[in-house]
Amino acid sequence: MQYPLRALFSNDILPDDSLPCDELDELFSQLEQLEPPPSLIARILSSISQLPQPGQRIAWGKFDNLVVRREDYPPC
């Protein structure tokens, strides 16, 4: 089944749902953004690159129901 792209991960098209800002929001807007170390980003990307492509799993999964399983046969 195909899904329209917009239905998938329908990100960031959300109405403005904010509440009026007060002094507390102002104060907490000063909360520092903690940055991940650059080496961590490199590590994440490296570990991802070692995984099989997600698309490949889909492609094979589509044909899974066509596989005839013969449990009584030895593996070839």
Partner: protein, 198 residues
């Protein structure tokens, strides 16, 4: 050269949905952009949730690996951003449960002034002129105030202030109506005020 630069800019401006589709199709650069787009707000949220910098690094990695593995199965109308924060929060809760093996309500921090969180005691390698010291004090106060909140309020407040999520996204991440997220946020505010003035 210009063409390559234009392509790079166009890719970095793509929506999460398009980037996810391209990642599924094997475009590693698209996934890299998703990582760059969300690593800081996610890390900020995780770090403040756990008050543990090293653990936040591990959990951030787990979130992105889980995203990559789950991409083909994310056939929902939920926004990717909210999904990632939901995973991050669940991982944090698992970690807290694993670490403490106690009831959730006991995860409230002790009101012991001598015992600062690991986040608060992180060494500051910069020199400490008065302004820097003030700024550091403010950061500690804000973090401490958030930590005094009951868990259900704390999640909403952290998603809002540390994750920069809209209430709609918070609702999706926490599996609650948007109105409830707003109500929790509003109820948390007097508690934060009290903690800051205590």
């Amino acid at each position: 050269m210009q063409m390559r630069e234009r392509t790079r800019i166009q890719t970095s401006e793509m929506s999460d949905g398009i980037l996810a589709q391209r990642s599924i199709a094997g475009d590693q650069r698209a996934f890299e952009i998703l990582v760059q787009r969300y690593s800081t707000p996610l890390f900020n949220f995780i770090c403040r949730f756990l008050s543990d910098y090293d653990q936040a690094c591990d959990i951030l990695q787990q979130v992105f690996v889980q995203l990559y593995i789950s991409l083909p199965n994310l056939r929902t109308s939920d926004p990717l951003k909210a999904w990632m924060f939901q995973v991050a929060r669940n991982r944090c809760l698992d970690e807290l449960r694993r670490k403490h093996a106690i009831h959730f309500s006991e995860l409230e921090p002790a009101n012991d002034d001598d015992e600062l969180s690991p986040l608060a005691t992180m060494p500051d390698t910069d020199p400490l002129p008065e302004e820097l010291a003030e700024r550091r004090d403010l950061q500690q106060c804000l973090q401490k105030a958030i930590q005094t909140l009951p868990p259900k309020f704390r999640s909403v407040v952290l998603l809002r202030y540390a994750g920069q999520l809209s209430f709609s996204e918070i609702g999706q991440a926490l599996d609650m109506p948007e109105a409830t997220a707003k109500t929790y946020f509003q109820r948390a505010k007097p508690l934060l005020r009290a903690a800051l003035t205590a």
